[in-house]
């Protein structure tokens, strides 16, 4: 409570009564967080995004089987639905996770093999079952899978199989690691470039600003897809997949930083004229301190929102490149690489479940967009 200033003509006849005004404790960051929590779609998007990253982190444990395992006898099998309840012949009901196996039959006229779920073939499922061994993150050897068949000789295909009999579900899960992190690494590179270049442009102004803006405009006017194709084609095919992976991220960042730089520049120019920044200058701060201590915390939330909205762009860019065959290639799996399987009409007609990775892309992109929208609305003081 403010100390009472002496009241010269009207002395307080009594001590002040009634509740003292409360000065709340929360920091500005907490205010933004609370505002974000009220945005329900944003929170939902955030939860799903975090869930997808958890999946990407623990993909070896979560996938039922080895993504490269080929099953020649189960080519293009349809997805098996997870069932929980089964009725035995005597009418008793059992609750246990299981799927039904297939009986296959060949239509000799068309040469098509078709699969029917067979209620007699019950494939028991369990949690944390023993399965194909793997190395978690390439380091820790283990063999437990979150969900899988109890009998290790049997197989379960939640999303069906592809032309080589590989489990699409496991492949989609493994691919999430590459697709989601390529987005992160690409965006981080863009962010660093964008903040440095955009910050210099916005803070110093003058010819520095003019020169940088012209470069940005030039880069943005280049047609992006042919440029990517050209750059990606320049990568020698003999390069290892990991090196290709990193080069792809660098390529994506080369054009991606321009948008962030412009936003950072705009924010710097707006903040430079804020009274508290002028006050910081009057306090005796030098430009690095003004930028880092006074300006950056004020646009950080906005940048986080923009970055969160930029990641889906990266994901889609990588998916598109790989789908076209000029991005990542086998044996590295990303959602784009998986979608290459769905490139021709015949396979789509025969096995529409090959689109499952596309569904994963849609979910991831939507979740990130909602999350980013929520963050941006929370950090934006003028939004209602």
């Amino acid at each position: 409570m403010t100390a009472d200033i002496q009241n010269a003509a009207l002395p307080p006849l009594t001590a002040p009564i009634g509740p003292r005004p409360v000065v709340e404790r929360t920091s500005y960051g907490m205010l933004i967080w609370r505002r974000f929590l009220r945005h329900r779609l944003g929170v939902l998007g955030g939860i799903i995004t975090v869930a997808i990253y958890v999946v990407a982190l623990f993909c070896e444990i979560l996938a039922p089987t080895d993504p490269e395992a080929i099953s020649p006898r189960a080519l293009y099998t349809p997805p098996q639905m997870l069932r929980l309840v089964s009725t035995a012949e005597d009418g008793s009901i059992r609750v246990h996770p299981h799927v039904l196996g297939y009986t296959s039959s060949v239509d000799y006229n068309s040469g098509q093999r078709s699969y029917e779920p067979d209620p007699d073939k019950v494939i028991e499922l369990g949690f944390f079952v023993e399965g194909t061994p793997y190395k978690l993150w390439g380091l820790i050897p283990w063999d437990r899978h979150f969900i899988g068949t109890v009998d290790p000789r049997e197989q379960v295909f939640f999303f069906g199989t592809d032309r080589l009999g590989r489990d699409v579900f496991s492949r989609t899960i493994y691919a999430s690691r590459v697709s989601m992190t390529i987005g992160l690494i690409g965006v981080t590179l863009s962010l660093v470039l964008g903040i440095i270049i955009g910050g210099a442009s916005g803070y110093f102004g003058g010819w520095v600003d003019v020169a940088i803006q012209r470069v940005i405009e030039f880069l943005q006017s280049l047609p992006s897809i042919p440029l990517w194709i050209g750059l990606a084609a320049a990568i020698p095919a003999s390069m290892s997949p990991i090196h290709t992976y990193f080069l792809i991220t660098v390529i994506l960042s080369i054009l991606g930083w321009t948008g962030l730089a412009r936003i950072v520049r705009g924010k710097f120019m707006a903040l430079k004229n804020e009274e508290y920044v002028i006050a910081a200058r009057l306090d005796g701060c030098r430009p690095p301190r003004i930028i880092l201590r006074h300006m950056v915390p004020n646009f950080l939330s906005h940048i986080i929102a923009v970055v969160t909205l930029a990641i889906p762009g990266m994901i889609i860019a990588e998916t598109s490149l790989s789908f076209l065959g000029i991005g990542l290639r086998q044996p590295v799996v990303s959602w784009g690489v998986l979608l290459q399987e769905a490139q021709n009409l015949r396979s789509i007609a025969a096995a529409p479940w090959l689109f499952a990775p596309g569904g994963a892309v849609v979910i991831a992109v939507l979740a990130l967009n909602f999350f980013g929208d929520g963050l941006r609305d929370a950090g934006d003081p003028y939004a209602k």
């Binding site: 002395p11 002040p16 009564i17 005004p21 508290y276």
Partner: protein
């Protein structure tokens, strides 16, 4: 109260949802608006005046609800419409809104659409509520624009809002509100954003239109001077409740509610009696969510009695004015008499100290902003924000810098503080006994100057970094720069000491600016300015954004700090009442030049420059003076600093201008008694300022019309 009022509001209660909680914005508000009269709704921030206005027109935000009450409007058909009874979008209301009840908003720039011409907007309003054709509506719009005194109305019909000046935009808004011949005009702080002289003209216009059109006005304002000027009846609100209402004369002469009394006492006033510390209302308006139990004013009332005033809501006492208090006026007077005598703090005006040396010398300083135009930036126009300003700032004094918006006072303040490079002239600062030239310094050298010359900004919300705690904000000048304190214990001690000196509890140092009120934030800003022990503080409109009762607290704080730390102030403001309270000398600026410098009393009571006289004539004070002589009207607008006329910039508007004035810029010259005046005719013309009163009372105190001595034959003015 009239028998058949135009609008009768009874028991109106409005609440809205904030952060999941229900907050009461209005609590059983009741008052009447008689026909053909002006009712002023007065109050400080959070009192609910804007909410009341918007409730009448039913344009509240979607999260607000009318909980109870009625607003019975006697519409032109003879029927009574209860505005509270319908849904906001009901056709009955749409017939009334914009047609019989119209509204004028505070900020004309945001209230007018930038995408449509003025004419189009007014025509739309007209055609919405009538069956006129486009041509008829256009003719009517032209009529209305002429009625509001819009210069060159025919051309303005096709102008956009950004092409007009502030005063013209406000006239356009008023025209739009009048176009449908309303019976009630709701004006929400329509002149707050305008200059003093423009405000005077706009208020006169509204009174004139009210008489001509016979409409009622509900005038919402926080400025008691405006209330004194406009009101027939006054409704005083505090924290969503009506605390007193009655005829204007009674409210000003014999206020009954403690809040009304305290508000009138606390308003800064140019009267010499008030040169001492202002009587303040202690504390701040509580936030709506922390509404006190019992009487709303109990947390700040000097007459509150525990157990009575904080238990139940007081009744509305009848009388000349109706006041919501447990005690009658007689009881309050009796208690005030028996109270222990107040500690009298410097009641007598400070004795004129021996003139001390100059601590800052400004010599011919100019600041021109050069706008490059053309292909290679060759053709350029200069915005002459400040031209050839010279004065001395003496140690320990407060120099007030007054002028209207666009006169360059803020630019001058920033230039002196070293934020802008001067275009010409010299600034010298006294350091270690020598006068050092600080005009052109490197950034490093400027940092040393900035430890001695600090700045307090106008906007308490924008001048504090929202991401830094109060401690960090105040400690920042002590963490960097030549006077930094490296020892963290000493730093903490110093910060707590400074916070205590400005009246903030050091316990709150870890909180963030958004948790504080406007007045408290301004105290934080002052603490930040004080932290490195400066000699000079440049205050750029430090109280303009604050409520009246808080202004008084901050002005007292400035005084106390000046005495305790021997500070020198350059106090920039547009509010002549505020400046008269705190400044010993006043400099008046117009179009980038200083036109007059003199002691406060000299300028207020005997100005020598026609512009000073015009400004004083337009000042509104919180005194009820029905029989005042007509105000001098200052025609035209201040010149565009990019396109100044040759010669004296005031010549186009000056009633005494001669050819010499129009060709040669008058120099700022000594005028006897230590005054400086920039006018060619200062020896010839006789101007009148505000008249001094011999005693406390209600003698009119208005500026008399200026008189040209050579032309005067009639000795009585």
């Amino acid at each position: 109260m009239q028998n058949n009022p135009l609008l009768s509001i009874k028991g109106l209660s409005v609440s809205f949802e904030e952060n999941g909680k229900r907050v009461q914005a209005l609590n059983t508000v009741s008052f009447d608006i008689p026909e053909g009269k002006t009712v002023c709704l007065v109050g400080e921030s959070g009192c609910g005046k804007s909410v009341t206005a918007r409730s009448i027109l039913r344009i509240l935000d979607s999260n607000a609800d009318i909980d109870a009450g009625s607003m019975v409007f006697r519409s032109s058909g003879g029927t009574d419409v209860d505005l509270a009874a319908f849904k906001a979008t009901a056709p009955e209301l749409r017939r009334v809104r914009g047609n019989e009840i119209t509204m004028v908003f505070q900020e004309p720039m945001t209230a007018l659409s930038s995408f449509h011409t003025i004419g189009n907007q007014i025509i739309e309003a007209v055609r919405q509520h009538s069956t006129m054709s486009e041509a008829e509506a256009r003719a009517r719009t032209l009529d209305v624009l002429n009625a509001v005194g819009m210069p060159d109305a025919e051309a303005r019909l096709d102008a956009y809002s950004f092409e007009l000046s502030g005063g013209q935009r406000q006239r356009a808004m008023i025209a739009m509100a009048l176009a449908t011949n309303p019976r009630l005009l709701v004006a929400d702080e329509p002149t707050t954003a305008l200059d003093v002289t423009t405000q005077a003209v706009t208020l006169e216009l509204m009174r004139d239109l009210q008489a001509r059109f016979g409409m009622s006005i509900l005038f919402i304002t926080h400025d008691l001077g405006v209330v004194a000027e406009m009101a027939d009846e006054v409704v005083v609100m505090y924290l969503g409740e009506v605390v007193e209402r009655g005829p204007a004369e009674r409210i000003f002469k014999a206020p009954k509610h403690p809040y009304t009394r305290a508000l009138l006492e606390a308003a800064p006033h140019y009267d010499r009696r008030r040169e001492g510390r202002l009587p303040v209302i202690p504390g701040t308006v509580p936030p709506l969510a922390q509404r006190p139990k019992g009487c709303v004013f109990v947390t700040r009332c000097a007459y509150a009695i525990a157990g009575r005033c904080d238990e139940a809501r007081p009744p509305l006492l009848p009388g000349d004015t109706q006041s919501q208090c447990f005690f009658t006026a007689a009881e309050l007077d009796a208690r005030a008499k028996t109270a222990p005598a107040a500690p009298v703090l410097d009641r007598a005006p400070e004795p004129r100290a021996a003139p001390k040396g100059a601590v800052l010398k400004v010599e011919g300083v100019s600041k021109h902003f050069v706008k490059k135009a053309g292909w290679f930036g060759r053709a350029s126009r200069a915005v002459r924000a400040v031209s050839d300003v010279s004065f001395e700032l003496r140690e320990g004094e407060t120099l007030g810098l007054v002028g209207e918006s666009g006169c360059g006072k803020s630019t001058l303040g920033y230039t002196l503080a070293g934020l802008h490079e001067t275009t010409g002239g010299r600034i010298r600062l006294r350091r270690d006994g020598r006068l050092d030239d600080i005009t052109h310094l490197t950034e490093d050298e400027r940092r040393k100057v900035w430890q001695d010359m600090r700045m307090v900004f106008q906007d308490p919300f924008a001048s504090l970094n929202p991401r830094m705690s109060v401690f960090d904000i105040v400690a920042e000048p002590l963490r960097v720069g030549p006077r930094r304190i490296s020892d963290s214990a000493r730093l903490t001690a110093r910060v707590h000491d400074v916070l205590d000196k400005v009246g903030l509890d050091p316990v709150l140092a870890d909180r963030y600016p958004h948790a504080f009120s406007g007045g408290q934030r301004q105290r934080i800003g002052i603490a930040r300015a004080l932290a490195p022990n400066p000699k000079i503080i440049v205050a750029d409109e430090p109280v303009s954004a604050l409520d009246v009762s808080v202004q008084a607290q901050i002005l007292n704080l400035f005084r106390d700090l000046q005495r305790e730390f021997s500070l020198t102030y350059l106090f920039v403001s547009h509010d002549l009442n505020v400046v008269s309270n705190i400044a010993g000398r006043v400099a008046v600026m117009y179009a980038g030049r200083i036109v007059e410098i003199a002691d406060t009393a000299q300028i207020y009571y005997a100005p020598r420059h026609p512009y000073s006289a015009a400004l004083l004539s337009a000042v509104l004070t919180p005194e009820y003076q029905p029989g005042r002589p007509p105000r001098q009207r200052l025609r035209g607008q201040p010149p565009n600093p990019a396109n100044l006329p040759p010669g004296c910039a005031f010549a186009p508007r000056c009633p005494f201008a001669t050819d010499l004035c129009r060709t040669t810029v008058p120099p700022l010259e000594a005028d006897g008694e230590g005054r400086l005046t920039a006018c060619h005719r200062k020896a010839e013309i006789e101007l009148s300022g505000l008249r001094e009163t011999a005693e406390v009372g209600d003698a009119p105190r208005r500026a008399l019309p200026v008189r040209d001595r050579e032309a005067a034959h009639d000795p009585v003015s």
